[in-house]
């Protein structure tokens, strides 16, 4: 029965790192898309303000709405972050589980 806690912790760290790296591109591309969408909305709002289609009051209200849209986008990013965290935590638990199984020779 061998159970080297230092090796297991190092392996758990590697599992977390690999999982986060695997999912990082998804979070990155979505963030870039959200920023691009925001840029397009603000540009359109500015254009409508200049042309007079948006009054000063409406323009202010639309800027307030932008806060809500940002909140929605942050909630979407939170889901991706949680997915990464869940995968990372379960990968680490998986490594620990495997090490304990190997040490005890138990078949679950």
């Amino acid at each position: 029965m061998s159970f080297d806690i230092h090796t297991v912790i190092a392996d758990m760290g590697s599992a977390v790192k690999n999982t986060v790296e695997d999912n990082w591109d998804e979070a990155r591309s979505v963030t870039i898309q959200f920023l691009q969408n925001r840029k397009e909305r603000i540009a359109l709002m500015a254009q409508l303000r200049i042309s007079g289609e948006l009054s000063k009051e409406k323009f202010k209200r639309r800027l307030e709405d932008e806060k809500l849209i940002l909140e929605a986008e942050l909630n979407a990013l939170a889901v991706i972050s949680k997915a990464i965290a869940q995968n990372a935590a379960n990968a680490a638990i998986g490594v620990l589980e495997k090490a304990v199984k190997a040490a005890t020779g138990t078949v679950l």
Partner: protein, 156 residues
């Protein structure tokens, strides 16, 4: 020798208890991906897109062509769909992020509907802006639902 056996037994017991815990220990932060909700988000997004495109392409502000009454039925139909999405999200456990996105979408839908009702018209520019706002919100909604798909199956 006796002490060595006792230590081995203790380690064995520790590992055995760890196994019992690990067997049932999985971190769950998100609900499972739901293909039906994903489809409903797509369909509602298309409905909203069609609503604004039709308004833009087939009507004009002249002669009260965009008075609220002409679009009231569609506003209601779409609000029903967004409400339904909100309810589908609300009943899922661990789903507060998607629920909040739906609440914001509904809040802005009702707000812009009221704006149209008050002004009794909608300019081409505002149609473009509203269409963009909802396209972006439904995109965020879809990102959140697809995010649930990122969750790997726990290791066997």
């Amino acid at each position: 020798m006796k002490s060595l056996n006792r230590n081995t037994a203790k380690t064995g017991l520790f590992l055995f208890i760890s196994l019992i815990f690990l067997f049932s220990c999985r971190v769950t932060l998100l609900p499972e991906y739901n293909a039906e909700i994903s489809k409903n988000i797509e369909n509602t997004a298309k409905l909203v897109d069609k609503f604004y495109l039709l308004m833009s392409e087939t009507t004009s502000e002249e002669n009260s062509g965009r008075s609220y009454d002409r679009f009231a039925e569609m506003y209601v139909e779409i609000e029903v769909e967004i409400n339904s999405l909100l309810n589908q999200n609300k009943i899922r456990p661990l789903n507060e992020n998607s629920t909040r996105i739906c609440e914001i979408t509904l809040e802005l839908w009702q707000k812009y509907k009221e704006e149209h009702k008050t002004d009794n018209t909608l300019s081409n520019g505002l149609i473009r802006l509203n269409r963009k706002v909802f396209a972006d919100l439904f995109f965020a909604m879809q990102v959140a639902e697809e995010g649930n798909k990122l969750v790997n199956n726990p290791p066997e």
